[in-house]
């Protein structure tokens, strides 16, 4: 089976700081892969390199067999790579429904219809409502996104990405700042999405319980390098991983 996403010796330096070094990984279709690592391990930088928000200083990104290294974030999204952000990134003064609808519209095209476009708006709205219902947000469709509680805003961001029907969903710390109950709910939702939509998911996570609960495979980053990769049980038993975590928790 060929990998859906591959990174080859991917690296990124910010001045003298080498945030990501030599990261080579392959995500298979249908896989739920987690990237973990202590603070400052380069997880979010790696995500930006994969989604195209940052250009790499070394290496390649290959998505669905195509070298997408030179493409920007918009082009990668249109090829089937949707993402969420560590710090919730939504359209605050638009309605919950419009947040998701615009995600559908931007991916689908026809964005330069200057007048009219009623049928197009209706079609994207239907898909947006499906996605909202899937995440249990249909009751809040008409509220302003900024008025949602934090947990629902996190879910809204996932709804936007899911509504784009991507091949690969990148989730950057989906449980960031959530209460234990919301975390459990979100984990359930992610599992459900993966199953119902046959999505390949790559997620960055801080919460170890979430990761060991969800992931098929885990990649461990430390100081920008991959120090281990394997099934959750292997990672749990890995001495180097334990040391990396214990070493930073002073």
């Amino acid at each position: 089976m060929t990998a859906l996403l591959e990174t080859r010796e991917l690296g990124r330096a910010f001045g003298a700081l080498q945030a990501v070094t030599d990261v080579t990984l392959a995500v298979e279709p249908g896989e739920l892969r987690a990237i973990i690592g202590p603070n400052g391990a380069g997880k979010t930088t790696l995500f930006h390199l994969i989604s195209g928000l940052l250009p790499p200083s070394a290496g390649r990104v290959v998505f669905r067999g195509e070298d997408v290294t030179a493409l920007g974030a918009p082009a990668r999204c249109r090829r089937g790579l949707s993402r969420t952000f560590q710090i919730t990134s939504i359209f605050p003064e638009l309605s919950v429904l419009e947040n998701v609808r615009i995600a559908v519209q931007l991916k689908a095209g026809g964005n330069f219809r200057l007048l009219g476009g009623r049928a197009q708006l209706d079609a994207s709205e239907r898909r947006a409502r499906e996605s909202l219902a899937f995440l249990g947000l249909e009751g809040r469709a008409d509220e302003l996104a900024s008025t949602l509680p934090h947990g629902d805003q996190r879910l809204l961001e996932i709804a936007m990405a899911v509504a784009q029907e991507p091949e690969l969903l990148l989730l950057d710390e989906p449980t960031q700042g959530l209460s234990p109950e919301d975390t459990t709910a979100t984990v359930g939702v992610i599992r459900q999405i993966a199953k119902a939509r046959h999505l390949t998911i790559l997620l960055v996570e801080h919460d170890m319980d979430v990761v060991f609960d969800l992931a098929d495979r885990i990649t461990v980053l430390h100081f920008g390098r991959v120090i281990a990769e394997g099934a959750p049980s292997d990672i749990r038993a890995n001495a180097e991983v334990q040391q990396a975590y214990l070493g930073t928790v002073a």
Binding site: L53, C77, L94, L106
Partner: protein
Amino acid sequence: MRGRWLGALALVALAVAPWALARHQLSLLTDLLIFGLFALSLDLIMGYTGMVSFGHAAYFGLGAYGSALVLIHFEQPIPVALLAGALLAGVIAVPVGWFSTRAREIYFAMLTLAFAQLLYTVAYKWRDLTGGSDGIAGVPKTTLYWGGPSVAGPHAFYAVVAVSVVLSLIVCRALVASPFGRALQAIRENERRFISLGRDPRVFKLTVFVIAATFAGLAGALFAPFRGFASPEVMFWVLSGQGLMMVITGGIGTLVGPIIGAMVFILIQEILSSYTEHWMIFTGAIFVLMVIFLPGGLVGTARRLATRA
């Protein structure tokens, strides 16, 4: 629903104005409508896309010169002059927008200001074409179409302006509700999110910048025959700044608000300047108070009160 009634009421008021108002009042109303259109066009980029342009007067001025030149040298009917003015503004906005939209926020504002001052200088220095600091005087109000009735009378020209402004408002309202308009609002709300949802915002920004400039050009193209002249002052940064104040006074991102804002802004100026030469102190103070006590402008505040009631 209430909004629809108010809209209908405003249309009726515009329709009966020529009979209800004295000649100088109708002339003032024509003026208000022209600047209302100018403020409306600025709201497209400022209110709906979140791009604060500090050089919007340049396109008003280009429209004025374009229309003045067509009317003076070719004596074409008014619609041709309006088209020429609007197109000239839109065409010049393409390169300016192409450069300016590479920057964001304050840098975008500074670039638009720099380009506007550059265009102002061209209008000021290119004496052969623009008449330099004297501008172009004696711009005629020609006819409605070739061999058609004259629009030189105050009633007829008022009708041309009122119809142009109402049609522009209708088109702009459709524009902001279209898929394109919705995308603009998403850019305003969160550009980074927009990018990661699959589109490059620059093309959208450039397009709306050109559209806004075209409508500003239309306003300028109405202004030149109405006042009978086009001069560098209408391209000066002071008018760009006043445009921002009109939009904020009326209600940013409401389209109809900036039209009302322009009217209120100019009316206050008219009234105060007939009492004191220091009127700017008072308009400044009124503006400060409005921003503090009426966030969302006149229309934004009215809507808030209406939903609360």
